[in-house]
């Protein structure tokens, strides 16, 4: 199935306002490549499920939560507003993260896998020693994420440096056994900015099992090794140049 963006669209701005109250809703951004074009690094089956099912579900649930938030806020229902925060954070975060992720990937014909040149390359060398060292570090940290999460290459605008960060289920988050169903704040879809207000994501790799399981099963390290063949460094460089200006 060919999916191409004809018009450049920012998926993180709402696509269309809902009728009455001007509430913005979001829709699934198109990929700029076909599902099969990232093979053999990532299978077409995974790409289709990941995009059409997982990402779409985050968007659907995000829109629903925003609608409920809008209604609760209008009524002054503070406890509902507060209760909705984890659904907003999780689903909104999932939408933010996956929107970036699709742009972080590109088929080889479009430059996928080609290392960065210019200023980003220099920054990588000075922050990590070498391009290979960065890859190794991201692979090690990505493999070490327990459960679901992401590994990021970020630009710290305040300190003008590159960082590798992970976001994921926190094993130290625990559950209070109460009479009713407990609510827990988990971070497996937290956007990078939750780790630091001055952090800008350049590149994120999804290490939730749905991102690789059908193809790589439990061998997450193989997925991490192979995904570099389709990483879109052109996009990461553009963001880096823009944000470090």
């Amino acid at each position: 199935m060919a999916l191409r963006t004809l018009i450049a669209r920012n998926p993180l701005r709402a696509a269309a306002p809902a009728a009455s109250r001007g509430l913005q809703t979001f829709s699934l951004p198109d990929l700029s490549y076909d599902y099969g074009e990232l093979e053999p690094a990532i299978s077409a089956e995974i790409m289709q499920l990941h995009h059409q099912k997982h990402h779409q579900t985050y968007i659907t649930n995000y829109n629903k939560a925003l609608e409920q938030l809008d209604a609760a806020a209008a009524k002054g229902d503070a406890s509902t507003v507060v209760k909705l925060q984890s659904a907003i954070k999780f689903n909104g975060g999932g939408h933010v993260n996956h929107s970036i992720f699709w742009k972080n990937l590109a088929p080889v014909r479009a430059g996928g896998g080609e290392p960065p040149h210019g200023s980003l390359h220099k920054a990588i060398d000075s922050n990590f020693g070498s391009f290979e060292a960065l890859i190794q570090k991201m692979n090690a940290e990505g493999a070490a994420v327990q459960g679901s999460g992401w590994v990021w290459l970020g630009l710290d605008k305040e300190f003008k440096r590159l960082v590798v960060e992970t976001t994921g289920n926190q094993a130290s988050v625990v559950v209070l056994i109460l009479h009713s169903t407990p609510s827990v704040s988990l971070s497996s879809q937290d956007p990078l900015v939750t780790k630091g207000a001055s952090l800008v994501p350049l590149l994120g790799i999804d290490v939730w099992e749905h991102a690789y399981y059908l193809q790589y099963k439990n061998v997450r390290p193989d997925y991490l090794k192979n995904i570099w063949n389709v990483i879109n460094w052109k996009y990461a460089s553009e963001v880096f140049d823009k944000e470090s200006a």
Binding site: S86, N169, A171, S172, I177, W208
Partner: protein
């Protein structure tokens, strides 16, 4: 080696608060290897499920078991054994390793592997070929008492499993109050003692359970892909072993009764001492986690 019927795993906890109250959970001899004096190894076992790997088809495929039991569960066992060899944890049974490494919520590195070994054993035993259907009358009565109806329980359990964001587990738990658990701290006491509740937990954490479902994606992705709700329904309708739940409930009630007797004894012993007869509630889990994060 694998039992034909699931027997409940039991624990040993000891109080770290200087109280004489002990929660006595005896070790399940089947899973403990006591080393002879001088030997270094109580290798934690990679226990097979109490049925063959294809026995739960078509609801949970053999392929899923080959990966889930054969790779994921095995890796937790192997990695745990590597972590504990030569340490003081080496000769301890699994349950004690979990408690020692839980460390009041400040988790030590082997905790994740140890807890996941325990969780997966418990999960296999929570299912059986030809599972599903209804629980025993006794379990059913409790479910009706604490959830209103069997359907209401199923709804709540499915919701917990479906809304466990990311990787984790959903549990049916026998919440017996006045636990005095060593490293973990007590749930806040309330009037609702000896109650069934549904809880969910992330990654490797577990409460004191009767039943669990694994909702890590590796547990269902080969068979159901993203359709976690379908997996949960299939689990409830075709896989759940109510036999195992009954056995575990009996064990949990016996422990609760034993604890009450001990507390009665302790109260009588310390009758003159106010601080002992009016214990302060202690939180079950630490609060230094991120629930109150401002960022």
């Amino acid at each position: 080696m694998a039992a034909a019927v699931a027997t409940p795993l039991k624990f040993t906890f000891s109080s770290s608060h200087g109280s004489t109250r002990r929660l006595q959970w005896r070790n399940n001899q089947r899973s403990v290897k006591r080393p002879y004096r001088g030997a270094i190894t109580a290798k934690i076992e990679h226990k097979p499920p109490p049925y063959s790997l294809e026995a739960l088809e078509p609801h949970m495929s053999r392929e899923t078991f080959e990966y889930h039991w054969g790779k994921h569960h095995r890796a937790y066992v192997d990695n745990l054994n590597k972590q504990i060899v030569g340490t003081e944890l080496d000769t301890m049974p699994l349950e004690e390793i979990i408690l020692a490494t839980y460390n009041k919520g400040d988790l030590l590195p082997p905790f994740n592997n140890a807890a996941q070994v325990w969780n997966h054993e418990f999960f296999w035993e929570s299912m059986k070929p030809g599972g599903g259907g209804q629980p025993s009358q006794e379990v059913l009565d409790l479910i009706k008492r604490d959830f209103g109806s069997f359907e209401a329980f199923v709804t709540e359990f499915k919701a917990a499993a479906a809304t466990q964001f990311g990787s984790g587990w959903a549990w049916l738990v026998y919440k017996a109050n006045k636990l005095n658990v060593g490293n973990a701290v007590n749930p806040l006491p309330s009037e609702e003692d000896k109650k069934l509740v549904v809880v969910k937990s992330p990654n490797a954490i577990n409460p004191l359970p009767l039943l669990t479902i694994d909702v890590w994606e590796h547990a269902y992705y080969l068979d159901f892909q993203n359709r976690r709700p379908d997996y949960i329904s299939t689990f409830m309708e075709k896989l759940v072993s109510w036999d195992a739940v009954s056995l575990r409930l009996e064990a949990a009630k016996a422990r609760a009764a034993e604890r009450e007797r001990e507390e009665e004894r302790a109260r009588n012993e310390y009758e003159g001492d106010d601080s002992q007869t009016d214990p302060q509630p202690v939180e079950m889990y630490g609060t230094d986690s991120d629930d109150s994060e401002a960022d």
